[in-house]
């Protein structure tokens, strides 16, 4: 099967800082691929380049059969690739339903008002937010806001979903529900590429894990394999003390 997303030597420099260096990877269609690495490794920068918020300094990004390097975010979204933000950003003054309606109205494939509404309601149903549909997004709890991010992203009808730390800040019970939700999204046939710090969740969910450190890809493989690689342990814990 052709991969959903192909990164070729993707590089991002901020002045003298090499945030991401020559990252080459393929994201398999229909799978969950995890992206892990210590803080500041460049994970979010990679997501921002894929979704079009940032333009790579160098390298190519191919989505399906189209090169999307340097496309604007709305165009990438309309093509079927959507990003959820690490720090949730709901439209505070809009109701929960209207928040999702924005996504349903403008996401991939233009829709008429009536079907956009049905789509938005379906996304709320799926994420368990339907009872909160008429409240302003500003009153939601953090866990609900994370769900709203996912509902909005799903309403754009993505074929690839980039999840940036959907579990961060959730308590164990909420976290469990969120993990379940990610599984259900996968079951719908959506390819998932996720950044996550909660190791247990990444290891349990991912079919494959990419590890980056200092902007470079240092490991790529099944979770159990990657977790035992010396360079990965070193990246997280530092070098083994001799003696």
């Amino acid at each position: 099967m052709t991969p959903a997303l192909v990164l070729t030597k993707v590089t991002k420099r901020f002045g003298g800082l090499q945030a991401v260096q020559d990252v080459t990877a393929e994201i398999a269609s229909g799978q969950i691929t995890g992206l892990i690495g210590p803080n500041g490794a460049g994970k979010t920068t990679i997501f921002r380049m894929i979704s079009g918020v940032m333009r790579p300094t160098d390298g190519r990004i191919v989505f399906g059969d189209r090169e999307i390097t340097g496309w604007s975010p709305h165009a990438v979204c309309r093509l079927g690739l959507c990003l959820t933000h690490q720090i949730v950003r709901p439209f505070q003054d809009l109701t929960v339903l209207d928040n999702v309606l924005v996504a349903a109205s403008f996401g991939s494939g233009g829709r008429l008002r009536q079907s956009a509404r049905a789509e938005a309601e379906a996304a709320l149903e799926f994420t368990g937010l339907i009872a909160r549909r008429d409240v302003p997004a500003s009153v939601l709890t953090l866990a609900e806001r994370k769900r709203l991010e996912i509902a909005r992203a799903l309403a754009t009808r993505p074929s690839v979903l980039l999840l940036d730390e959907v579990l961060a800040g959730l308590n164990p019970a909420e976290s469990q529900r969120a993990v379940e939700l990610v599984r259900q999204v996968k079951a719908r046939g959506v390819t998932i590429f996720m950044i996550e710090h909660v190791m247990r969740a990444v290891m349990a969910l991912s079919d494959r894990v990419l590890v980056i450190n200092h902007g470079r890809l240092i490991a790529d493989g099944p979770p159990a394999h990657v977790a035992n690689l010396p360079q990965v342990i070193e990246a997280y814990l530092g070098q083994r003390l001799e003696g």
Binding site: C77, C82, F91, D93, L94, T95, D134
Partner: protein, 323 residues
């Protein structure tokens, strides 16, 4: 949108009532003049609110569109066009100019955008003052004196204001309006969900520039005189901001209420105390920003909801939407 839907019958009713005035009091020139100028401000406030209120881009440069519209009409009228035909041309020229200005400046956000628009507005004023071959420069341009009656102007301005209201109501309830509301609250999130933010901002800008340009044209025929320092003045730009803020930023009825109050205050105070109205606006603005950021429209909504707190919930939701 329940709010917008309920607004349409009341707006139509109000417009019909106001349209009867010239027939009931044909000789009352003061009233017809007051009506004309108020409607002109209503239309412009509604137009400004599409970009400033719905999309959240506060421009201090709309005098450029007003002035361009006024001069377009003036020059075409002098060239022999009938006045009525010059208004769409005035609107179109202003709209074209808004694209030239909007494409670069709308990349800025918040105060940076506002400051850039002050620059554009002032640059236009000075440019027009110095292009005296075309604009008459500091002595202005005298226009033909054969003009229709005050009642005609009153009715045309009412028509323009009603048109602007209809446009604002349609925009607010549409997919386009939803996109504008989204980009106002979070530009990056809106863009990430597929909203073509750059296009939408420019469309909103151009749409409102068209209306303001047509108003400028109407004003030129009404006054039979144009001068760069009046039609391109910073006061003209700031009036639209004040009208909308006083009335209620981003609300449908705000600019209507705001313009009525604004012009009544100005008309009443300007003759007796020439600069006192500025103080009144200043105080009004501070009070509004402190206590009711939704302006008079928000205040009216609050008073209306108090007797029926429970029944008002649907309304409240609708207000939230484009708030």
């Amino acid at each position: 949108m329940p709010g917008a839907r309920a607004s349409v019958p009341s707006a139509v009713g109000l417009a019909v009532l106001l349209a009867l005035v010239p027939f009931l009091a044909p000789g009352n020139i003061t009233l017809l003049n007051l009506g004309f100028l108020t409607f002109l401000f209503v239309a412009q406030g509604l137009a400004w609110n599409i970009l400033g209120g719905f999309a959240g881009y506060v421009s201090f440069g709309y005098a450029a569109f007003y002035g361009l519209g006024a001069y377009t009409t003036a020059l075409l009228w002098l060239a022999g066009w009938p006045p009525l035909l010059t208004y769409p041309a005035a609107g179109l020229l202003a709209a074209a100019f808004s694209l030239i200005v909007g494409v670069p400046t709308l990349r800025l956000t918040g105060p940076y955008f506002s400051i850039a628009t002050i620059g554009v507005g002032e640059a236009m004023r000075i440019l027009m003052l110095n292009l005296d071959r075309i604009t008459g420069g500091a002595s202005g341009l005298n226009l033909p004196t054969a003009v229709p009656s005050k009642a005609w102007f009153y009715l045309v301005a009412l028509l323009v204001a009603s048109g602007a209201f209809a446009v604002a109501a349609v925009v607010r309830g549409s997919r386009f309006g939803l996109g504008l509301a989204a980009l106002r609250m979070d530009l990056e999130a809106a863009e990430g969900l597929g909203v073509r933010t750059a296009l939408f901002k420019n469309l909103a800008h151009t749409l409102s520039a068209f209306i303001v340009g047509a108003c400028g044209g109407l004003y030129a025929t009404y006054l039979q005189f144009v001068h760069p320092d009046t039609v391109f003045s910073f006061t003209q730009s700031i009036s639209l901001v004040l009208i909308t803020l006083i009335g209620g930023l981003g609300t449908l009825w705000g600019p209507v209420l705001g313009a009525a109050v604004f012009y009544a205050v100005q008309d009443y105070l300007q003759t007796s105390y020439p600069t006192f109205h500025l103080l009144v606006y200043g105080v009004l603005l501070i009070l509004i920003l402190l206590f009711e950021p939704r302006g008079l429209a928000g205040l009216a909504g609050r008073l209306r909801r108090r007797p029926a707190a429970g029944a008002g919930r649907g309304q409240a939701g609708a207000v939230e939407r484009t708030g």
